[in-house]
């Protein structure tokens, strides 16, 4: 009982509590995950287009992209972007006569790294969704005289969104969990904030379990949101979706 009181004082919003920094860190996790998810969708769309295109070069490039990014540890990709980016900027700066190590912004690096990684998964999700559109509907749209853009807007995009939602939900969960790795480049999200709190207080178990609970809360609530979105997207389709 005493332990519980001590725990809640530690993570609470009182003067001795870490509630405010933890809440701020949780919103940082959500913010960086949302941005990375957005970047991933852009990469996924380009990748999907390339994989479906008839151009050998585009198809090959997309295959290399998805194979490499899904076969290499995420931590390595984050390091590559962070240290490699600093290396590149350092080289440019040296050409202009500056010296020293250039650190990059953790938020931008993390967003890009996790975005590029999730884009590889997003590519496959979107491709599967595109292939799930009945061919007859595309032909019908052509016959009805729709141009490519109109067809994309009215027939393809809405259907891809519907078929891709479950897969996108999985990618979102992946992004959320990968965002914890961004702590290695110094962004103050849940993982890093709990580490700082542990460094100050020494209460390692209390804070790391709190970090885990915060992640569980975010994954649970966003998972429920995705299920509602699925139910909404499938409305009127006959099939029943767990709401």
């Amino acid at each position: 009982m005493e332990d519980l009181v001590a725990y809640f004082t530690l993570i609470g919003f009182g003067p001795a509590g870490w509630g405010v920094p933890l809440a701020r860190a949780a919103s940082m996790t959500v913010a960086v995950s949302l941005s990375a998810f957005g970047v991933g969708i852009v990469f996924g769309m380009v990748g999907c287009w390339a994989k479906l295109s008839r151009s050998v070069v585009a198809h090959g490039a997309a295959t290399v992209y998805t194979t490499v990014l899904r076969g290499v540890p995420d931590l390595l990709v984050i390091y590559l972007l962070y240290f490699g980016g600093s290396q590149a900027i350092g080289a440019i700066a040296r050409a202009f006569g500056h010296q020293g190590f250039f650190g990059l912004n953790g938020f931008v690096v993390g967003m890009m790294a996790v975005g590029i990684i999730s884009g590889a998964y997003q590519t496959e999700v979107l491709r599967g969704a595109y292939l799930a559109i009945p061919r007859g509907e595309l032909e019908a749209a052509r016959v009805a005289g729709m141009g490519r853009l109109l067809m994309l807007r009215r027939i393809i995009a809405p259907q891809i969104l519907r078929f891709a939602l479950p897969g996108m939900g999985n990618v979102w969960q992946l992004v959320l969990k990968e965002s914890a790795l961004i702590s290695v480049v110094g962004l103050i999200e849940i993982m890093n904030q709990t580490r700082l709190a542990v460094g100050r207080t020494g209460a390692a178990f209390s804070f790391y379990i709190t970090g885990a609970i915060l992640f569980l809360l975010i994954t649970t609530f966003s998972g429920a949101a995705f299920r509602r979105a699925e139910a909404w997207a499938m409305r009127g389709m006959g099939g029943r979706v767990r709401a």
């Binding site: 931590l75 993982m191 379990i209 970090g211 569980l216």
Partner: protein, 237 residues
Amino acid sequence: MKQFDFLWDTFLQLLAGVPVTVSLVTVSVVLGGVLALGLTGIRRTSRPGEWVVSAYVFALRGSPLLVQIFLIYYGLGQIEWIRSSLLWPFLREPWWCAITALALNTAAYQAEVLRGGLNAVPKGAIEAARVCGMGRLMTFRRIVLPIAVRQALPAYTSEVVIMVKATSLASIITLFEITGIAHSIVSETFRAFEVLSLAGLIYLVMNFALTRAFRRLEIHLTPQSRSRPVERPVSKA
């Protein structure tokens, strides 16, 4: 030439991390597999058992592996009775902490993979086995498990690949596997592109070999999908 020497030297240094990565993967996947079998057993015994296992799977799949590693490596030391228990000499070591975290984590995922495989076993096959007079255990051993394993194999392959990638997190708690070595070379030489790309290449080759091997196993376990040997025409002389 100097450039090539550096790359070759780095490559050799990184190769030294391969055994560490491989043993991390093997030990944790095997331990996790045993644990997953146990979890599946508990899940099938009773309602409360089902709840407990579902809660375990939910917690382990819903939080990042990095948090779980930190919780075990740094967090367990805060608890008095663990520090005075027999397990403490193990849980003090980064190696065993990484193994514990990876095994507990993959057990949750493997339990789900196994569940999918078990659900795919046709009811008729089980009934037929019972009718033939097989007991519950023998039915499980001869009929259910082989079909379930075959069904679950593709999902199992991707789980092992994910584990290979996940071992890179062990570098954060000071283990010198491939990523850990790469990181230390980068901080000494500042040549991030070359070093990290080489490390990535090693992971790619490992995962490629792994998926190839599992693919072979899949084909081996699905004899009915193999092409039949060509029958020679019998001459009717």
